[in-house]
Amino acid sequence: MGWLKGVQKGIMGRVEYGARSTFDPDLSKSWRVTATDLQIVSHSFRVDSSQLPLSAQATRLGSDQIQLSAQATRLGSGQIQLSAQATRLGSDQIQLTVHSNIEHMDLVASRKECELSIPVTGPHFCSVSLDTSATDVGLEFACMVLAPIISYDFTPTAYRFSFMTTPREPASLFSPRNMQPRSHSLVAPVTPLPPPPPLGTSSLEERLRLLLTPPIHEILSDPQLCLPEKPYPYQTMGIKWLYDRQYALLADEMGLGKTMQAIIAARLLYREGLINQVLIVCPKTLIPNWQTELRMWWPQVSSNISVADSDRQWFLRLGTSRIVVKIINYEALAREADWLKTQKFSHDLIIIDEAQRIKNPGRKTALAVKALRGQRRWALTGTPLENKADDLVSVFEFLKRGVLRYGSSNDTIREAISPHLLRRKTEEVLPDLPEKIEQDIEVELEGDQREAYVRAETEGVVELNAKGDKVTITHVFALITKLRQICNFEPVSGESSKVALLCEDIEEIVESDRKALVFSQFVAEDFGIARISRILKERQWGPLELHGRIPQGSRTAVVKKFTTDQESKVLLLNYAVGGVGLNLQAANYVYLFDRWWNPAVEDQAVKRAHRIGQKSKVFVRRFFCKDTIEERILKKLMEKRRLFSHIIDEGRPDQSMGLSEEEIFSLFNLKIRPRVPSKPSTPVPIILENLDPTEFENLVAVLYEKQGYQVTVMAGSHDQGIDILAEKSVAGGKERVAVQCKHVQDNVGRPVLQQLWGVVCHDASITRGDLVTSAGFTREAKDFGHGKRVGLIDLAQLQQLVREFKVAKFVAETSGKGTKS
């Protein structure tokens, strides 16, 4: 360290510093270098007291921190130590601290420490004034950048979002018995994706939540959801569309599954904990349908549904967790219109079905619905309200007030409602639908009609029993016919639940410019076509009729008018006349007002519309009355599902309905007459490859019957993969066999067998499980089944059994392919 001598007053000690490495410091960015990278250049100089003030200069090189230190060592007698330290405090200041061990030294601040704040925008000066009698004062400045560093660290900022959900599902759903692997329940992805809800000013968190929610097809593929059937792609899209929206008008054409889409969307919201309760408002005639659909698509909520009774106000206020779904009809709700205006309770989700019911804004129905408070509001309708602007305004006053105004142009209205409206027509979703959609529609008898039915059945059974051994099948049929007539219409008042339901549909069909066929076995005024026709005429729907009472020469004209006249929307036919040979493809909605029960006859009826030349999908709706003879017959037929039901064995009446005499008698729990042994039947030739899965199941069912089992064929979706339940009494108890049928070409593998084994293990009443296939089994499957209570029946064994019990005769196709008998 050397001294600079000869310094004059105002000596400047210049301190410089620099980095050892070469770099180009970008002053626009913050950077630091380690102190070790610097060469510390220090100067020491000696001054005498006359040469004060002494200053040092530092030049900022863009560092975050600068440390200046100055040290003075007195040379000569005594010692002076003076140090100055500068620390950059912030972006614009440096603090210089000067320490001194000199007593009696007057520093600038008359303190032992001197603190100076130095702006860093330019060259920095720090000065230390010393006033001392010392003759030799050494002052050393050293400048050093502090340890903090000019570093090349990266410092990104993190942003976090939490989505706390409390997924909810009744515990029973987690039973292993309900579970199937995902491969069984895969729902196809939807392309294109449904349009996102209008987010507008939604927060980033809300947008992220929507993006991070699993795709709808993945949610619906969750095996814990246990959907009985996979939704069609357009339905998947509709479910997602509803799920994302607080306000929504689902206006799919009738028959495309609006109810189902709404139920599943509501179920998903409930499952996520986003809603706790749903209020459904619908026409009274549709309440049973909603209950049926809820049982099908949301079975876990079955015991948590409440239908409004007389205490409507209590019902509407009901908000316990025990009731998840509340259903009230429009008429009942309308009675509380005034009361609702004064109430403040709110529902999580309100669904109004047949939303066109509130299109008239002045009516009490509309006023009552609009008075309801709800966080989410969905409206369902099959009527193309988009064509009627004012009707839409009233509906949107319920959905989201302020979206529409009366008097707006149609274009304005369409644009305003576009984010909240989803309507698909049958033709748009044509590729996704099967050619024919059939539904059994449950109808509930009420009031006088129910009383009349109960009375007639009770009295009828009494009369049959009174006949004792003399009772014949004819007597039974007479009672069945009488009861079926009452199911159509109450004899005195003409009250009809079926007609009420039919009219709901016909209204939408007319509005949608579609056409419908309505079949009935009865033509007479009291119970059949004539009465239906009169009712439809009163509604200005101008129905046409086609039955035995229409002169032969006029029938062609009727058909032509129905086909060509746009105003003719409904054609009423009986099975006998309307069931054969007619081309009625102008209609794509077919109603079986009452059943013929013979599938072939009903199929012929449906084929009037479902035939070559039909441009639209055909919707078939088959009415049956709940808790009546109609339901009992339907259940029996579904259980049996005969393979060759169109073949009527000799000795059976034509109206056998596909049921045996014993089964017909059992409809009323009557004692049967001694049976006449039937002629042995000849095995029917079957080409195995031509059977569809249902026919294969029926074949297997018949096989078990022939072996003495009482057989139940599982209807609809398969219960845990089981297709047939076969029971028979054996020594020591009852043998109960769960049968799974696999009509496939490839060998059945282990996973299928494991699933069957799972069912056997979890149900103590099942003796064993049988897996019947028209192919074979893999080695792994055979190994797995070894030693377990499962039977593997492959093609060879099946052929042997079929031959042994004379069920059928497998033959090859004429091309020579197929299975040999």
Binding site: P156, T157, F163, P181, P214, E272
Partner: protein, 180 residues
């Protein structure tokens, strides 16, 4: 390629394992934005529980020089992954990454980490058993735990699908950040 552990017969458990929490970590890179990063935490049904992303990291020329070939790993692992792991409200059972180089995030993640991808090559008779491949890149101690989670959840959910949601959310977040 790590062998699969867990169930050897391919049959799914009769119950869906609950309580498993999954982590999905991705650090994509592009010329415009530099390095991005996001993490998605889900429950056993792949429902989102937590999402975090970082502001873009755009290295300067000096940084590229100083870090050289180690730049990408340093940024992705020591900077972004470490940042994302801080303050997680849920501790994942496993962390899946969508690129091989991200498996090295194991050292900052502190949890079993694996590169998850679809199994493009059927494995003969066992092809029907799994459609996924997972790679722990030498962290053999993680193979079992990863294997158990994959084999138990694979029959019930699509384990790879959350990555696409993560990327969509990251894009949306970046869009919002750049506007502000």
């Amino acid at each position: 390629m790590s062998p699969r552990n867990g169930s050897t017969d391919g049959s799914p458990s009769s119950e869906m394992p609950s309580g498993v929490i999954l982590g999905y970590l991705s650090c994509p890179q592009d010329a415009a934005n530099g390095f991005l990063g996001a993490m998605l935490i889900t429950d056993f049904r792949a429902r989102p529980l937590h999402f975090a992303f970082v502001s873009p990291v755009r290295p300067t020329a000096m940084q590229r020089l100083l870090y050289g070939a180690t730049l990408a790993e340093h940024v992705k692992v020591d900077v972004i992954a470490k940042k994302l792991m801080q303050g997680l409200p849920f501790r994942p059972s496993v962390v899946f990454v969508d690129s091989c180089d991200m498996v090295s995030a194991r050292r900052v993640v502190g949890l079993p980490t694996a590169f998850l991808t679809k199994n493009e090559q059927p494995q003969g008779a066992a092809a029907h058993l799994s459609t996924l491949r997972y790679d722990t890149l030498g962290h053999t101690e993680d193979q079992e735990s990863i294997g158990v989670v994959v084999s138990e959840l694979e029959p019930w959910i699509d384990l790879i699908e959350p990555f696409s949601r993560l990327m969509d959310a990251l894009k949306e977040a970046q869009k919002t950040s750049s506007k502000s």
